[in-house]
């Protein structure tokens, strides 16, 4: 039969890419999580994981730190995004660049610099590991919160805000009933871009807490570095479950805000 080019062949590169870099790694993780060192099916890694309280502790600390970072970033980032998007306060886009610019500097370099600055003001991994990590996380993820919020704020419908005021809402009520609901897609984007990356981050906690805080990312790294592939994979598997779970929670809202991620 004669070869005929069809449009669906355009998808071949994506299929190859997705299988090699997404599907195969996930299958490998699951494979290693449920086998032993000899490649025989086993739940030893899972049993070991759940028998050790410190492992659960790692997950709880990661979760707590992720939620805390997200909330602090939103509290700081929301008003900043609001004022940056308001033409009365920000006549050009220069200010928004100032907030985004840290993202252009190498991540490791940035984190090292943060550590040195914190050290200089007396906060270091030795005396206050949790505080140091928290500050580093907020600093690093703030742009990821501001940017999606800023883009939704730019699209705020002024006439809806005026309508709310017209119908008797004072400035606070206008915020609750009109501005916040309108900015919700941006908030959802901001959460998805902060929550999971913080849980699995490795460099920040490693550098800023000087190894005193172990997050999921650190745990996986340590296990893999010690050739404990099965244990590391099981933790990666747990993280995967957490990610799927959190995506399921925000699914409805994320669908509304499709295309609003950036």
């Amino acid at each position: 039969m004669k070869f005929r080019f069809q449009r669906k062949y355009f998808s071949i590169p994506y299929v190859i890419f997705l299988s090699l870099f997404v599907l195969v790694p996930i299958l490998l993780i699951i494979f290693y999580a449920f086998t032993d060192a000899n490649g025989q099916p086993s739940i030893a890694a899972g049993a070991k994981f759940f028998s050790d309280v410190s492992n659960l502790n790692v997950i709880l600390v990661s979760l707590f730190l992720a939620v805390q970072t997200t909330i602090i970033c939103l509290i700081i980032g929301y008003p900043i995004a609001y004022f940056l998007a308001n033409k009365n306060y920000n006549k050009n886009a220069v200010l928004i660049m100032l907030f985004i610019m840290p993202m252009w500097i190498n991540f490791v370099l940035r984190t090292t610099a943060t550590r040195d600055i914190l050290f200089a003001i007396g906060i270091n991994g030795g005396n206050l590991p949790y505080l140091a990590t928290s500050i580093g996380m907020v600093y690093n993820y703030l742009p990821f919160v501001i940017l999606p919020l800023y883009t939704t704020m730019l699209k705020l419908d002024r006439s809806q805000i005026e309508a709310a005021a017209d119908l008797g809402a004072n400035p606070f009520q206008v915020f609750i009933h009109s501005i916040f609901p309108q900015s919700l897609p941006g908030v959802i984007s901001a959460i998805t871009m902060t929550l999971v990356p913080v849980m699995s981050s490795y460099v920040i906690s490693d550098a800023l807490s000087e190894g005193n805080i172990t997050l999921i990312g650190n745990f996986i790294y340590i296990n893999f570095a010690n050739n404990q592939w099965n244990n590391g994979s099981f933790m990666a598997f747990v993280l995967l479950i957490l990610v799927i779970f959190s995506m399921f929670l925000t699914k409805d809202k994320a669908e509304e805000s499709r295309g609003n991620l950036w």
Partner: protein, 502 residues
């Protein structure tokens, strides 16, 4: 229904953005229960006026009184005024019911409560849910949307969204309902239906309506009172009949309905001459005064040649269903006439009854510019450009020497920096399409056809207005250059010439 009580009163209200006056010192009283329409072309300041009443814009001067109390600086949420926005501005995250209930849920009303000891006290409380439900249902019934209360806003048609926007306002029983071109986004059929419904709603509710539109037909159909605005200034306030039959000036006459406008002279008491004939009229102006005359096409009486006041030629004839529309040339002048009678193209006679002739005082017959500064080269600065002038007009028998000084006998004057008043006749300004820097140029903001010529207003960047009379039609919004010969400019010096002697 309309009482004599004034509900809202604008006193000398202005709103400027930099040097530009969007609303230029307007004063207006609106009586309780009236349906008032603010009518004007886009950019005339009508929406800005409405937004100041609603509290969304603060006036830069003047006061706004509601029931005799000053609300000029009151924020929108404290005013008993609700607005139907141009694009509805419904809340997309709420359904129809919650959109309408929005204002009610925020509102607190005084409720008498009996305490345990029997004492009665008045407390401010939110409405109960049952009360809100009842009021929302009533409002939705008024706008004819009872069945749709659970629907999502995005599933509604434009007309339905419009009704929700109206219900959302009237449910709060405001003292005044503001409507900002609410029917602009609807199609023609829908718009006609909504006009009638709005009028009925107004009758039923008894709320004062302030309606903004650029559609003169809409204004004539619905209003008790029409306020015609142009360039931020109120041109005329009156009932639809008054506005149509007795336009205050040529702008109103031209904007409201079709009209023929001519230059005319009062020849005797209550006799006016235009189109080369004398007509009796009802308006009393001074004899020999030059005036503008407006004749509505339907007031023209056509007849067999020699039967009327003046004869003309029908050059075009269009059948419009109920009537014919004729274009008639009388010498150089063009006249539009509407008649149910059928005349063949060719000679015809024309007459107008006295009450069909509306006479208006001529306005702005001169271009007068004050405070124009004389530059070093003896030109004056005007409207970002330079204009050559003839300084010798200031002193009899004088001339300008080679150094640029004005010389008269043995006296010498240096007029650099002097302030002049310039007077330029309307027909001495030429219009050109090419704009060059250093020349006077501007945008055409108004063009009025007066029988056989156009009266055009050109506004320069710095807001000077030039009135120009020309034979040719020009497009609104075009950038043009103005050329004025120096001998046509009359100049007067501000102050005493002796102050400039050297």
């Amino acid at each position: 229904m309309a009482s004599e009580e004034v509900i809202i009163s604008l006193n000398n209200v202005e709103k400027s953005f930099g040097d530009f006056f969007a609303v230029d010192h307007i004063s207006l009283d609106i009586k309780k229960g009236q349906f008032v329409t603010i009518l004007g072309p886009s950019g005339c300041g009508k929406t800005t006026t409405l937004r100041m009443i609603g509290g969304f814009e603060l006036p830069t001067g003047g006061t706004i009184l509601l029931n005799n109390s000053d609300i000029t600086k009151l924020p929108p949420y404290k005013r008993p005024i609700n607005t139907v926005f141009q694009r509805y501005a419904l809340f997309p995250h709420l359904n129809v019911f919650d959109n309408v209930a929005f204002g009610l849920k925020l509102k607190k009303v005084p409720v008498v409560v009996t305490k345990a000891n029997g004492e009665k006290v008045t407390k401010m409380k939110h409405y109960k849910m049952e009360q809100i439900t009842e009021m929302v249902k009533k409002a939705l019934k008024i706008v004819g949307l009872e069945e749709l209360e659970d629907r999502d806003i995005s599933t509604l048609s434009g007309g339905q969204q419009q009704r929700v926007a109206i219900a959302r306002c009237i449910v709060n029983t405001p003292e005044i309902l503001l409507l900002d071109e609410p029917l602009g986004a609807l199609d023609l059929k829908m718009r006609k239906d909504m006009q009638i419904e709005l009028k009925e709603m107004h009758k039923k509710l008894g709320i004062t309506f302030i309606y903004v539109t650029h559609d003169q037909e809409e204004a004539l159909t619905m209003s008790d009172v029409i306020v015609v605005m142009n360039h931020g200034v109120i041109q005329q306030v009156g009932t639809p009949e008054e506005i149509y039959n007795e336009p205050a000036n040529a702008f109103v006459a031209d904007f409201i309905g079709e009209s023929n406008i001519y230059n005319a002279v009062m020849t005797k008491k209550k006799v006016v001459r235009f189109l080369g004939a004398e007509f009796k009229c009802v308006d009393d102006f001074a004899v020999d005064e030059r005036v503008d005359v407006v004749v509505r096409p339907e007031d023209v009486i056509l007849g067999k040649p020699k039967k009327g006041k003046v004869d003309g030629q029908i050059v075009s004839k269009v059948f419009k269903g109920v009537h014919y529309e004729y274009v008639i040339m009388i010498g150089k002048n063009e006249l539009i006439a509407k008649s149910t009678e059928n005349f063949a193209e060719g000679p015809v006679s024309i007459d107008v009854k006295p009450d069909g002739i509306h006479i208006m005082a001529k306005e702005n017959l001169q271009n007068i510019f004050t405070n124009c500064e004389v530059l070093k080269n003896n030109n004056v600065e005007l409207a970002d450009g330079e204009l050559e002038i003839d300084l010798t007009q200031l002193v009899k028998g004088s001339k300008v020497d080679e150094d640029g000084y004005l010389v008269a006998g043995n006296k010498k004057y240096d007029l650099t920096g002097a302030k002049l008043t310039l007077e330029i006749p309307l027909d001495k300004i030429d219009i050109y399409d090419d704009t060059e820097s250093g020349q006077i140029s501007g945008e055409i903001v108004s063009s009025l056809y007066i029988g056989d010529h156009y009266r055009i207003i050109v506004r320069s960047e710095d807001d000077e207005e030039f009135i120009v009379v020309t034979d040719y039609e020009n497009n609104l919004g075009d950038q043009v250059r103005l050329d004025i010969k120096k001998e046509d400019i009359k100049i007067r010096l501000k102050g005493d010439i002796e102050d400039y002697e050297i």
